[in-house]
């Protein structure tokens, strides 16, 4: 593993599989009566959030706490950051307080990269979403969810997603989730297709290792997983599409469309969902939709990331013995 997790593109296939395998080990901890490991005792993890995101923040917080790390939540709101303190000064402050890892969410693309490479801090940096750039732990938890559903919980260990066909639908232009997933899923051997109105596909997408389609109905029958991206309502005012209804008709997933997917295929959503916009309630609440599972998997995956970045080479949970013990 590298010292930081900034971009899903930085992960090799073996790095990624190691994280997913470690996450499976971590998931077993969640099944125990005491959901806690001593691994990161005495280490400090700072959740540095310049942008509101309760879901991602509590997911990282739960992950760090289950590994017994001390957690400091630093939110831009109501802090000196909103009074104009720079990213650099905030970083220097955290460094002085002895942060071993900084989990950063920032509205500016590249802010985590700057934090990791500017010499402002020594600790590990984990990108928890930067602007419209990347959200690598989201991609990891998505891949983890797909591997479990499409390959199997035990059968998946050591495996990647070779040959799986993944469709990502929606606002690719502004989506850090899409960017990270394209990198990671491709690294793991999957075939990725992006589906969006042409206005929401970035100029330059032709260099990405994936297909692009404007026709959702044509792609659905050839998909093992369909990931619906959240469409921000404010995009409507910028003429990306005419109306919410038209978007929903052309690119939303409803029951009829879901029926075109293969039997085994799953529906994914990074949340929060706009029910009635990109996904209907019927689809969101069906057992083919993994949205809630993704949240649970997020904690295990983030535990794995923090463990591998901070814990070094010690075994995370387990030895085979320990696992056998548990299985008794």
């Amino acid at each position: 593993m590298k010292r930081h997790l900034i971009s899903a593109a930085d992960l090799t296939r073996d790095d990624a599989v190691l994280i997913l395998d470690t996450a499976e080990e971590m998931a077993r901890v969640a099944d125990r009566p005491i959901k806690k490991l001593p691994t990161l005792r005495g280490r400090t993890v700072v959740n540095l959030f310049f942008e509101d995101s309760t879901r991602t923040r509590i997911s990282f917080e739960a992950a760090a706490k289950r590994l017994s790390a001390d957690v400091i939540n630093f939110s831009a709101k109501g802090s000196s950051v909103s009074k104009g303190e720079s990213l650099k000064d905030t970083a220097l402050t955290l460094e002085a307080m002895g942060a071993d890892a900084v989990v950063i969410r920032h509205h500016a693309s590249g802010a985590p990269y700057r934090l990791a490479n500017s010499g402002w801090i020594d600790g590990a940096v984990v990108n928890a979403g930067d602007g419209t750039h990347e959200h690598p732990t989201q991609a990891l938890l998505d891949a983890f969810t797909m591997r479990r559903r499409l390959v199997g919980r035990d059968a998946g260990i050591g495996q990647d997603l070779s040959g799986r066909r993944i469709t990502i639908v929606g606002d690719v232009l502004h989506s850090r989730v899409a960017r990270s997933n394209v990198h990671l899923l491709t690294t793991l051997g999957a075939e990725v297709t992006l589906v969006a109105p042409p206005t929401l596909v970035p100029v330059g997408v032709e260099s990405w290792p994936c297909e692009v389609s404007y026709d959702l109905d044509a792609v659905l029958p050839k998909s093992d997983a369909v990931m619906m991206l959240r469409v921000q309502r404010e995009r409507m005012n910028a003429a990306f599409f005419p109306t919410e209804r038209e978007y929903s008709r052309r690119y939303g997933l409803d029951g009829d469309r879901m029926a075109k997917m293969p039997e085994h295929a799953v529906v994914m959503h990074p949340g929060p969902m706009n029910r009635g916009m990109e996904i209907t309630a019927a689809v969101a609440d069906s057992d083919r939709c993994t949205a809630v599972e993704q949240v649970a998997n997020g904690v295990s995956t983030r535990m794995a990331v923090l463990y591998l970045l901070l814990g070094g080479s010690e075994p995370a949970v387990t030895t085979n013995n320990a696992r056998t013990e548990e299985n008794k």
Binding site: G110, R114, N117, G131, P202, G204, V205, W208
Partner: protein, 429 residues
Amino acid sequence: MTKILIRGAKVLGGEPQDVLIDGETIAEVGAGLTAPEGAQVIEADGKILLPGLVDLHTHLREPGREDSETVLTGTRAAASGGFTAVFAMANTFPVADTAGVVEQVWRLGKESGYCDVQPIGAVTVGLEGKKLAELGAMHDSAAGVTVFSDDGKCVDDAVIMRRALEYVKAFGGVVAQHAQEPRLTEGAQMNEGVVSAELGLGGWPAVAEESVIARDVLLAEHVGSRVHICHLSTAGSVEIVRWAKSRGIDVTAEVTPHHLLLTDELVRSYNPVYKVNPPLRTERDVMALREALADGTIDIVATDHAPHPHEDKDCEWAAAAMGMVGLETALSVVQQTMVETGLLDWAGVAERMSAKPARIGSLEGHGRPIAAGEPANLTLVDSAYRGVVDPAGFASRSRNTPYEGRELPGRVTHTFLRGRATVVDGKLA
């Protein structure tokens, strides 16, 4: 009167000759001149002698942002880079949109003594693009403004642009357009293309520059005015200017040194030192710009020297200011990209960095031939020099150079402003 004999200089890169300066004027040019009594002799030893460079596009920041540059520090930087005249852009605080402000900048330039400062006036009041500034009053002022620009902002209203082009004809003025369609570049952070798609940074599409240039050359044709295009940055813009010139439209264009060398691949570092407006483009654009500068489609090199304080670059990309300092590295970058590639000889460099910018800006006494009777504005260049750029050695108050740690060829060893040395042996006099 001081007499200086420069011995064995390759005038415009030609055969070594001697040049005798007497007072403010070149007295004699020839082989084997004897030094008059009391004359100071400079052994040029085969260095290149050019007319003093002229920059049509400099930000001196004074008044208003003296933390990043002043007229004094900016002109010291200019002299270090071999310039004897710079045109100071109007986007100061207050904006140079009145006779009072342009006269202040002009006076500060006179006092600095390192190079001539010719203020540029704003086209519109407050650079807001709505109401013409008093262009005539600025022209009639002591500063004698002939170049007008809202640089930093585009004169995007077609009617305002038309009127400005027409109005300045009365006194031989020229409008220098910063071509950037504002709606197409809202939130723009870098060139729109393969790299912006990956980095998730807001795109600044080439079409936002090209569409404005296309409109403006057609406007210039329609009203019979001349127009100058600032910092042209795309292959498409080159095609439009080439077409306009072939039609006989009175258009001139400039390119910056950084657009001749750097590409948007550098933005992958998210280091804001590479953040500039217009943004760094692709390799294809860079090659088209070099070719256009060589064949005359692009008339001149202008630095767009844009100093910013350290804190405005020591931050995340989106929060950083746009711009790069350029006066002290311009000639080296041109040597590397144009001379050492065989695209341009030194006479061509002199035309594009001295003679033509002076003509476009109607600046007298600069960009003249190196000949007897001409003003002694001269730059001596050691083209064999190779060195790594160290911003700590800059005369500019700001350090935001994209070339830190990069090896560049060439070094200005002497600069003469009307016979007075402003740079001697590579150091400010």
